[in-house]
């Protein structure tokens, strides 16, 4: 058993606390810097947006294996899993063309990396003053996948002042109209909400009990 004292890094997520203000910041700055280094983007110019608006990504005829496309997308994935919901949509979109990635796709990945460079210190800040109610948001685009015309689900849950759960995924079936797509997204989000509610209820129940 190794004693590590106050938690500073857990699974690559850096924790910094301000005890009097009761804030806790979760970030992956070091990991992001390592990723940038790995793809030779440590000195790149920054950019404010992640993807071009309305970018259509078609698979290339032949995949250029010389580009570290998969590696880059995979490395960015861990940022999404950890602390960066803002990157989810763009990276998930890029990950759909790993089997047919060409130069234009690589350009899109480097654009995301340039954005990561700009926002390297960003993270999630949880605080006391924020409402302790779980808030959920869900949205869908309609038929925006270039090849299958399926829609994308997106949802996010905010608790204690910052996001705790989020996802961006391609829906399993084709939605015939926008409301159908929105409903499918809402369904995914509701499933997550039920689980999250159960989790938070169980823990906060203990807290409220302990206050008595």
């Amino acid at each position: 058993m190794k004693e590590l004292g106050e938690a500073k890094v857990i699974l690559g997520l850096e924790i910094s606390r301000h005890k009097t203000l009761r804030t806790l910041k979760l970030s992956q700055g070091k990991y992001a810097a390592r990723v940038l280094e790995k793809f030779g983007m440590a000195e790149c110019n920054t950019i404010a947006t992640r993807l071009e608006v309305g970018l259509q990504m078609a698979k290339s005829e032949k995949s250029s294996e010389s580009l570290p496309y998969r590696k880059a997308v995979g490395s960015l994935m861990y940022l999404i899993v950890g602390t960066r919901p803002d990157l989810a949509f763009s990276v998930v979109k890029l990950s759909r063309v790993v089997l047919g990635c060409g130069k234009e796709h690589w350009a899109a990945v480097t654009r995301v990396l340039r954005h990561v460079k700009e926002s390297v210190a960003k993270g999630l800040v949880y605080n006391k003053s924020a409402s302790s109610i779980l808030q959920g948001f869900s949205d869908a685009d309609w038929a925006c996948d270039y090849e299958t015309r399926r829609s994308t689900t997106g949802f996010m849950f905010i608790f204690g002042g910052a996001a705790v759960s989020w996802a961006s995924k391609l829906q399993k079936t084709v939605a015939l109209f926008i409301v159908e797509a929105e409903h499918m997204a809402l369904c995914e989000a509701s499933k997550e909400a039920v689980w999250l509610d159960k989790l938070i209820q169980r823990v906060t129940m203990l807290v409220t009990q302990s206050d008595n």
Binding site: M1, K2, E3, L4, G5, E6, A7, K8, I10, L11, L13, I15, R17, K19, R22, T23, L24, L26, V81, G82, L124, Y126, N127, K128, A130, S132, F159, G160, G161, A162, A163, V164, S165, W195, L196, K198, L199, I200, R202, V203, T204, L206, V207, Q209, S210, N212
Partner: protein, 180 residues
């Protein structure tokens, strides 16, 4: 019956005073890739904490001003105890000269054994339960304990990384002592 294999690793690291040293590690590994299903192993699943759970707990930690500590279990997998009968040839360099054909029955897990993760989790889970921790349905890796209606301790398990959350320093010390 399968063979064990020695795995050697040279690790450059800083010692306590800050000098760089080289550590030579040797680890006896089991060649689990050749284990036969239903004969030498059954289930191999082991849960890990969900990232969402971790974030929720951290959000509550911030709001309530709880203490947040972490621990790391060394050579975690060696602690697991085996249910199945698994045999291994005598490890190279430690063969008994009088009975070189005899084999060893494994009682505890080794690195490389397919069920090592499951057995380690089972052991840790049993231990936490014996200490009065409750599992919750939402996440198997979240263990909760309430003491006298006042002190709360939460243990989040991610294989060998433990995240300890307690409403007071005493609570943290108490669980740390128990875990040792």
């Amino acid at each position: 019956m399968l063979k064990g294999k020695w795995v050697f690793k040279v690790k450059d690291e800083l010692d306590k005073v800050g000098n760089s040293t080289t550590r030579h590690k040797a680890r006896l590994c089991f060649m689990g890739s050749r284990q036969i299903r239903r004969l030498e192993f059954n289930e191999t699943f082991a849960p890990v904490a969900n990232f969402t759970t971790i974030r929720c707990i951290l959000a509550m930690t911030a709001a309530n001003g709880w203490e947040l500590h972490q621990m790391d279990v060394k050579t975690a997998f060696l602690n697991g105890e085996l249910d199945e009968e698994v045999y291994m040839g005598q490890p190279e360099g430690y063969v008994d000269p009088t009975y070189p054909e005899k084999v060893c029955r494994l009682l505890q897990a080794l690195y490389g054994l397919k069920q090592a993760t499951k057995m380690w989790y089972a052991k840790l889970d049993d231990f936490l339960k014996s200490q009065g921790f409750d599992n919750i349905d939402a996440d198997a890796c979240l263990h909760l304990q309430m003491d006298d209606g006042e002190i709360i301790i939460i243990v989040l398990v991610y294989v060998h990384d433990l995240l300890l959350v307690g409403s007071s320093m005493e609570a943290i010390d108490k669980i740390k002592k128990a875990l040792r």
